[in-house]
Subunit: 212 residues, 2 copies
DNA sequence: ATTATTATATATCGATCATTACAGAAAAGG
DNA sequence: CCTTTTCTGTAATGATCGATATATAATAAT
């Protein structure tokens, strides 16, 4: 860290990556300091010197997750030209991320701190806020589509966003319970099948945002 | 329990009900013995004499949940005459159960043991099996509809079942994060909007199982 | 070379975890 | 009555929890 004194003998980024995977797999409360120090290959004092505490390490792990897999998912959404394509990319990219051979399944943010325990109040609040922001992000993309005329005026973008975020969150649980990528993609496509009905003027709204 | 000896001074059923609510709120790993004994109003030896261990108490709590709220949800599904009505009842009953002022939000079975930790392997396997059985149950209802001619032959009932179970599981997370009943019902209706597209011969299949 | 600074390894801290020994209390059977 | 049986309250068990004190090792500055 500093330019003086004994240099650190481990790679902070790589240690954080391992910590992220351990928290992702076992959850915050299910992960012990022994799990972390063993998995990261460092001693407890090194962990505390580099990350502050178990809780702060978890925060750093979440931040890393958001800046990698999270960025990929939201990047896929941003790259799509139509609103339908954006939601489709959001769900399909999620399906790909949620089941990989070398990574824990599902989403770290979605699966963390779903229960309010004695010691996780602050952490849980932060994760609830992150999950809530996902809905806001989706709604913002849909609102843009309404402004563009791609979706009919009066479309309940918040409701639509909540629906698709709910599906993605359910996909995390499905992935945890063993659903493979094909199954997750089928779930995504099933949710997208509702697209035409979620606009107020019924199906067949004339615009760019259509399934096909 | 027995007919001789000092009689039990607490109501076993009521104590189990309290234990269920505590596990439901805080999760298995997030619940301590002190939480349980305090909340149930009994001492640790009484708890062990009546329920065996913390893990067996959790099993009993899950069984109670399944036989009460769970039975209501699946009862609503069974009562419906059409397949569409059955899925609608399943989701709407879930929406009602998932947000009540006096009960923890979401579903005990869906939210429990999503992470694999060191000591919860057996418990997690049981919960994964219970969640999997939900999909099987939904698929069986849809298969009946195919046999009845209510849904077109070749309908992928497993895929449909996985989709609607995924939505219900996502609704548990949404409820945990503060979604009220109206929001949950909107999510349910959004998912049902996909109904017509999930049959193989496209929308407008002639049969009883239609949204309207 | 000496000092200052920082990281590491070992060992340990008090707190809390789930579980249980133990002794006394409350019932039924004799 | 007394014995047997079962439950209750208190206190303690060993294990594990997250977090640190301490001593030593490794670097830069002087």
């Amino acid at each position: 860290m500093a330019d003086r004194g004994r240099p650190r003998t481990f790679d902070r980024e790589q240690a954080l990556l391992r910590a992220m995977e351990i928290f992702w797999e076992k959850g915050f409360e299910g992960t012990s300091m022994v799990d972390l120090t063993t998995g990261m290959g460092i001693g407890a004092p090194s962990l505390y010197a580099a990350f502050g505490s178990k809780e702060e390490l978890f925060r750093a792990a979440v931040a890393l997750y958001v800046s990698t897999d999270g960025a990929d998912i939201w990047g896929a959404l941003a790259k799509a030209e139509t609103a339908y394509g954006a939601i489709e990319a959001f769900l399909m990219e999620s399906a790909q991320k949620f089941n990989r051979p070398d990574k824990p399944s599902g989403c770290l943010v979605v699966l963390s701190a779903l229960h309010a325990t004695d010691g996780n109040k602050a952490l849980r609040a932060e994760l609830v806020a992150r999950r809530s922001k996902n809905t806001t992000n989706l709604a913002a993309r849909l609102a843009k589509a309404v402004k563009n005329g791609e979706l009919p005026p009066g479309t309940d973008v918040d409701r639509m966003a909540r629906f698709y975020v709910t599906v993605q969150q359910g996909m995390s649980i499905q992935a945890r319970d063993g659903a493979d990528r094909m199954m997750l993609e089928e779930i995504a496509r099933s949710a997208l099948a509702a697209w035409g009905s979620l606009a107020p003027n019924g199906v067949r709204y004339v615009g760019a945002s259509q399934p096909l």
